[in-house]
């Protein structure tokens, strides 16, 4: 902003508008989040049974020399971190979408039955001896989550409340039946146990191209849809009269939630809390703007999951605590912190 522009003095209506364009604190926060993400990503690629210093990690990425450290970073840890970034972003954005859609800050993407559907399908698949290997598990998880979401959408299409109630009911039924099967069939229990704790370890060999592509496409879709969702937050009536096709927007958002949550769950198991907490942490700075909410969650979800993944390797360097358990441990206190900080009003 030039000195001449300032010299015109305080303008009540023009002033804030001009400042907003020159420097937006929201953009600043977003850039800060990206920097944080880069730092955490580099750290996560350095941690493990063989520690690699951050400077060496950066060199491995930018100036590959083929040393042992470089090979570990490039071939083992980079894919794992990318997976964490994709899964974290998918779950967090799915959470932001469902909370916006349901107008309920306690909604999380699993509420639509997607997670339970994936778990059920894997249980059935391994009971039939079909869900073998990671590709098999992945396939069953995807089919299960999509079928569950279709069922919930078909029954609960009329209103967000019906949708959530249907999702909760279906989750209860599927989890119950799946649990019964696992208790009766010990082999199935073993297969499921590994998947169900949520882990990023040893997943990177699985055929991840399809789910990861789906996640990237849906993240872009969420950004494109975010302005219409902005209109939808003003209530159905106002959204209609602003010209946002309410039914279409809601349907598209549901598809995005299902694919994001289903793909993330399929590749990493049911990682709880990310979808619930991340939108909470950024709710205040987003200040009611869905585009910002989605951008922030897209950055902070990966940060949270990378930190959890680092934790999972540091806490138990030999065995690795599954990341799903670490996120739960991190998530509980963070949720309490967010609630205390922003007051119960935000709940």
């Amino acid at each position: 902003m030039t000195a001449a522009g300032r010299a015109s003095g305080p303008e009540v209506s023009g002033g804030p508008a001009r400042t907003r364009r020159a420097f937006s604190p929201q953009l600043g926060l977003f850039v800060g989040g990206l920097v944080l993400l880069a730092v955490v990503a580099v750290l996560s690629m350095g941690v493990g049974a063989r520690p690699v210093p951050p400077a060496e990690v950066v060199r491995a990425l930018l100036d590959y020399q083929g040393t042992d450290d470089h090979v570990i970073v490039r071939d083992v840890r980079l894919p794992r971190s990318l997976l964490a970034v994709a899964v974290g972003a998918a779950l967090a954005v799915a959470g932001a979408l469902i909370q916006t859609l349901a107008r309920n800050p306690l909604a999380e993407p699993g509420i639509l039955g997607v997670t339970a559907g994936a778990g059920f399908a894997i249980t059935v698949g391994s009971a039939l001896g079909l869900a073998v290997g990671q590709a098999g598990e992945l396939g069953f998880a995807i089919v299960g989550s999509v079928l569950a979401a279709l069922l919930v959408a078909a029954v609960g299409r009329r209103s967000p409340l019906r949708l959530v109630l249907t999702g909760v009911a279906l989750t209860a039924v599927l989890s119950g039946v799946a649990l019964g099967m696992r208790l009766m069939l010990p082999d199935v229990f073993d297969t499921y146990r590994f998947w169900s704790v949520g882990s990023l370890a040893a997943r990177e060999q699985a055929p991840l191209a399809l789910p990861l592509t789906a996640i990237v496409v849906c993240l872009l879709g969420a950004l494109l849809l975010s302005r219409a969702l902005n209109a939808l937050t003003l209530g159905e009536n106002v959204a209609h009269t602003l010209g946002a096709g309410v039914g279409r927007v809601r349907g598209l958002a549901l598809v995005l939630i299902t694919v994001l949550c289903g793909a993330a769950t399929a590749v990493a198991g049911p990682i709880l809390f990310v979808g619930l907490i991340v939108p909470h942490l950024v709710r205040k700075p987003a200040a009611g703007s869905v585009p910002w909410l989605i951008l922030y969650t897209m950055v902070l979800g990966p940060v949270l999951l990378l930190i959890a993944d680092i934790g999972s390797r540091v806490l138990l360097p030999t065995g690795e605590v599954p990341v799903g358990i670490v996120t739960a441990f991190l998530g509980g206190p963070m949720l309490i912190w967010a609630v205390r900080r922003y007051g119960a009003g935000s709940l």
Partner: protein, 261 residues
């Protein structure tokens, strides 16, 4: 006065509850129309039908001779601005952001936010008297301030038609007259204003066209001076009254004769 927005024999219902049967209304163009009537007589329902929030079971709502149902969502949103009786603001939103959402129908993926949007928002906030509230969270405003913020949101939409459901219900007396004055000014600039008002004296003072409703029917309509008399008030509101000329404007003024019954 010509009408571009019309309802032809529309039947409106919510499930089993029929609100209006074969109601017809021509909204005079470029005029200020006030709709009055007792609670639950179907005023909001009629407005909802005019802005396509409620589909008539039979009959037609037309804008420029075309069924409103046939318009693309955004095209209609550029014509008809609507303020519901009890709009719902999302948590955490600031006043300027809420007003900015009125620009939604004018934006697209390629034209996200233009100088024109900026100007429309600033002007709407100034007109509605909320220019100095821009950075306040909507949640933390008083009822009247909030109502003016929503009014600004609809003004930012810059539509030729403004359909307002009780735009003054939360305002103090000064702000009520300021808002009515603003609506009259917008009418003078050529816009069409349709407002549900509960204060019949204000309606008589400001409206060019008064629509009195009861039980889902239009009981009387026309220039307030021609239609408002004691018989009409008795018929519509079941209120005994005398009608005197407003000492300031000469328009009809309803003075109830009930005393503490």
């Amino acid at each position: 006065m010509s009408a571009r927005l019309t309802a032809r024999e529309i039947t409106l219902r919510y499930g089993e509850r029929v609100v209006s049967t074969r109601l017809s209304l021509d909204v005079p163009d470029g005029a200020f129309t006030a709709i009055v009537g007792p609670n639950a007589c179907g005023k909001s329902t009629l407005l909802r039908a005019l802005v396509r929030l409620l589909r008539p079971e039979s009959g037609h709502v037309e804008l420029d001779g075309r069924e409103v149902g046939g318009y693309a969502s955004k095209a209609l949103a550029k014509q008809l601005g609507f303020l519901p009786q009890d709009p719902l603001a999302p948590d955490d939103i600031k006043v300027r952001q809420l007003v900015s959402r009125g620009r939604f129908p004018h934006q697209s993926l390629l034209a996200l936010w233009s100088a024109q949007d900026e100007e429309a928002v600033a002007e709407a906030m100034a007109s509605a008297g909320v220019a100095d509230l821009g950075d306040r969270p909507v949640q933390e405003l008083s009822g009247g301030q909030r109502q003016r913020v929503w009014m600004a949101m609809v003004l930012a939409q810059r539509t030729p038609y403004l359909l307002l459901d009780e735009p003054t219900s939360f305002l103090d007396i000064t702000h009520q007259y300021q808002l009515l004055g603003l609506l009259a000014r917008l009418r003078d600039e050529g816009r069409t204003v349709i407002a549900v008002l509960h204060d019949i004296n204000q309606a008589c003072r400001y409206a060019d066209h008064l629509v009195a409703m009861r039980d889902g029917r239009v009981v009387a309509e026309g220039v307030p001076k021609d239609v408002v008399d004691a018989a009409l008030i008795k018929d519509v509101f079941e209120l005994p009254s005398v009608i005197v000329p407003d000492p300031v404007t000469g328009t009809p003024m309803v003075v109830p004769t009930l005393q503490g019954e």
